[in-house]
């Protein structure tokens, strides 16, 4: 057992799997440069020293190529892990991610799969429209893909291990503020995600959510950074006698809808909090499923607390206004409970 940040846990998962399976390798921009960064956020640090340039491959700034390298090498028996540097660059690899990799199993009649992991840093950090998106809505609409979003070190290690071992393309959404509050590249306002990570082998199954806080009055579903804001909000509300049950889905595709239904049947209220924008964000699907499956269990309308439908700004005051804050989450939950 060791205390780790998410950044360290992701690295440990990759290192452990690379030691275990010679078919696992990493590719991306700036991940293996000698005396370099170990990736834009330092997650690959130290790996080139252990595994060499043959298995820690620095690519050009050519995202279609990076996606294609994942697909082709996976078809030839490898298990590539690609650092996308900023999740926003997924649009430069849109064809391999949306139109090629996730369709190979179906189009081949189930005869071949492409095990590949795409690591995508996401989340608002004062970087504006092209470096701070949450991208979840685009990804969860893609059949054949899996999408995970760990919010603490234990889940990061277990989900990353599951992703590397999965025979399908898996996108890992890594929030820039959750990598950790220690290490060489610490973001301003970074949140501590440190927790105990077992030394030995374990996986967190993809598609299974987790109850992060038990409560009786309202179910709140939130992921990544919003998990921490809801936890803070829950402490404020607890003083008012409102007990929040917080579900971290951990995987967005497939999504653990059953866990949400079970909770709603107990609390009779549902709020969804995410950093992706409102319209067709993953919260829309959770709300629709709740309406289809537990409408008569609900005592109040379902509420979504999200970034409104907008491009993200750089200006700190605008960003803070748009991204759900603890105060806003408290108010929204309170308004639903008091209905």
């Amino acid at each position: 057992m060791a205390e780790m940040t998410i950044g360290e846990a992701l690295r440990k998962a990759m290192v452990d799997e690379m030691r275990l399976d010679e078919n696992v390798f990493c590719l991306g921009q700036d991940i293996g440069i000698d005396k370099g960064w170990g990736g834009a956020f330092g997650i690959n640090q130290g790996m080139v020293e252990e595994f060499g340039h043959e298995r820690i491959i620095d690519t050009p700034i050519a995202e279609y190529l990076m996606g294609g390298l994942c697909i082709g090498s996976a078809l030839a028996g490898m298990r590539p892990i690609c650092d996308v540097q900023y999740g926003d660059f997924l649009f430069n690899m849109a064809s391999p991610i949306f139109n090629e990799a996730p369709k190979i199993s179906y189009m081949s009649g189930g005869k071949m799969g492409v095990p590949m992991v795409l690591r995508m840093p996401v989340g608002s950090t004062g970087r504006g429209g092209q470096h701070a998106q949450s991208l979840e809505g685009f990804l969860v609409h893609t059949n054949g893909l899996k999408v995970i979003c760990p919010s603490d070190a234990y889940d990061a290690k277990g989900l990353m291990t599951a992703a590397i071992r999965d025979d399908n393309p898996v996108v890992v959404l890594e929030h820039k503020l959750l990598y950790g509050n220690k290490g060489v590249r610490v973001e301003k306002n970074a949140v501590s995600t440190v927790c105990d990570v077992p030394d030995g082998d374990y996986v967190v199954p993809i598609g299974k959510g987790r109850i992060r806080r038990e409560g009786t009055h309202i179910t709140v579903v939130a992921n990544l950074l919003m998990v921490y804001r809801v936890l803070e909000a829950a402490n404020v509300l607890a003083e008012e006698g409102i007990e929040v049950e917080l579900i971290d889905p951990r995987s967005l595709l497939p999504f653990d809808h059953e866990l949400v239904y079970e909770s709603v049947r107990k609390t009779h209220r549902l709020v969804i909090v995410h950093e992706d924008t409102l319209t067709n964000g993953w919260g829309a699907e959770v709300a629709a499923r709740a309406a289809e499956n537990c409408l008569y269990d609900l005592d109040a309308p379902v509420k979504r607390v999200t970034v409104p439908d907008t491009i993200l700004p750089c200006a700190k005051n605008l960003e803070s206004f748009l991204v759900p804050s603890v105060e806003r989450i408290v108010q929204e939950i309170r308004s639903i409970v008091n209905l």
């Binding site: 390798f25 590719l27 043959e54 298995r55 491959i57 690519t59 050009p60 050519a62 279609y64 190529l65 996606g67 294609g68 390298l69 994942c70 697909i71 082709g72 090498s73 996976a74 078809l75 030839a76 028996g77 490898m78 590539p80 064809s95 391999p96 139109n99 090629e100 190979i104 199993s105 179906y106 189009m107 081949s108 009649g109 189930g110 005869k111 071949m112 799969g113 492409v114 059949n143 054949g144 899996k146 025979d167 399908n168």
Partner: protein, 326 residues
């Protein structure tokens, strides 16, 4: 490998099979029997056969939508291919892929894509795998003049040369990307010249001469296998049929098409003349060979038509790969 008599006969069989296969599809399309459009490689048969014949079964061939000669030469089963043409459960992609998404990994055919540019980057991926594993296998990307202008293709050429990947890029220049003439969208006389900018060895060849295609590809394949990096081959050929079945080629220059669509330039007629001249086959032997191939195609059609459709219950199966699917 020096080509022996049996090799020449086999290469002829593969070219002729492709021609008859596609003509049969065309007639079935006109009769309304075939459930979809087709992309004929009529006139380009020497390209796929020459390239495919220079490869080992384990080598991976990434190709696209005008692909029958490549697939058959690599060893794909004719019946499974025809059944896929009819979207049947017995097809090589169980009716889910159709002709654009063909696969049989047992003969080194990963699923083909209808997305131009994909073949080049996927081939680089497979070549990267072979390089990491220190395998002797190589990857080949086959694409047309149209796909040669995709950004993905340039990303692939750049990276393959940087890493000296065991890959061969084969551009079948049939002069038309759908209806757009190659000269309207390229600033060079020969597409292969673009490889010069990547410091890559390149050649432009007569793609209707199966021996020229084979010899050049074999050399490039041996070079890649020896760890000496990629080669770019441009095979000049001609798409005798239209882009797809609804295309009447109204935009084509008559002088150009008269030059290319002639017995003299037809790759199959050329091979026939060679086989007869070298007395590898007698005229009777050639007739017999053709009749055998035509019957094999008929047999494949009967197999495809009598095969079951995929089951409705399985409509959403295979979205995710499970090892048991194999």
């Amino acid at each position: 490998m020096t080509l022996g008599k049996n090799d020449l006969i086999r290469m002829y069989e593969l070219m002729y099979t492709t021609r008859v296969y596609e003509e049969k599809l065309y007639f079935m399309f006109l009769e309304g029997i075939l459930p979809a459009s087709i992309h004929q490689s009529h006139g380009q048969e020497a390209c796929g056969v020459g390239v495919g014949y220079s490869l080992r079964k384990e080598d991976m061939l990434f190709t696209s939508h005008r692909n029958i000669s490549h697939l058959l030469t690599k060893g794909l089963d004719l019946k499974a291919l025809m059944a896929e043409q009819f979207f049947k459960e017995t097809g090589c992609s169980k009716g889910r892929g159709g002709t654009i998404h063909i696969n049989d990994m047992s003969v080194g055919i990963p699923v083909t894509h209808g997305i131009l540019g994909a073949a080049a980057v996927h081939a680089c991926g497979a070549a990267t795998a072979f390089q990491i594993k220190k395998s002797e296998n190589i990857a080949v990307a086959v694409f047309g003049d149209g796909a040669s202008n995709e950004g993905a293709t340039y990303e692939a050429l750049n990276w393959a040369q940087v890493r000296k990947l065991p890959v061969v890029f084969v551009c079948e220049n049939n002069f038309y990307g759908a209806s757009t003439h190659v000269s309207k969208v390229n600033p060079v006389e020969h597409i292969a010249e673009k490889a010069k900018g990547f410091n890559m060895e390149y050649y432009t060849l007569d793609g209707n001469d199966v021996f020229a295609v084979y010899n050049a590809t074999k050399k490039a394949v041996d070079k890649a296998r020896a760890g000496n990096g990629p080669t770019f081959l441009e095979l000049e050929t001609y798409r005798i049929a239209g882009h797809s079945r609804s295309d009447s080629n109204s935009y084509r220059d008559k002088e150009e098409s008269d030059y290319w669509i002639s017995d003299e330039r037809d790759p199959i007629k050329r091979m026939e003349r060679h086989l007869l001249k070298e007395a590898i086959l007698t005229p009777e032997g050639l007739d017999k060979k053709q009749a055998e191939i035509e019957e094999k195609i008929e047999e494949a059609v009967r197999f495809a038509i009598s095969s079951p459709d995929p089951s409705i219950e399985d409509a959403t199966l295979y979205n995710y790969y499970e090892r048991v699917n194999k």
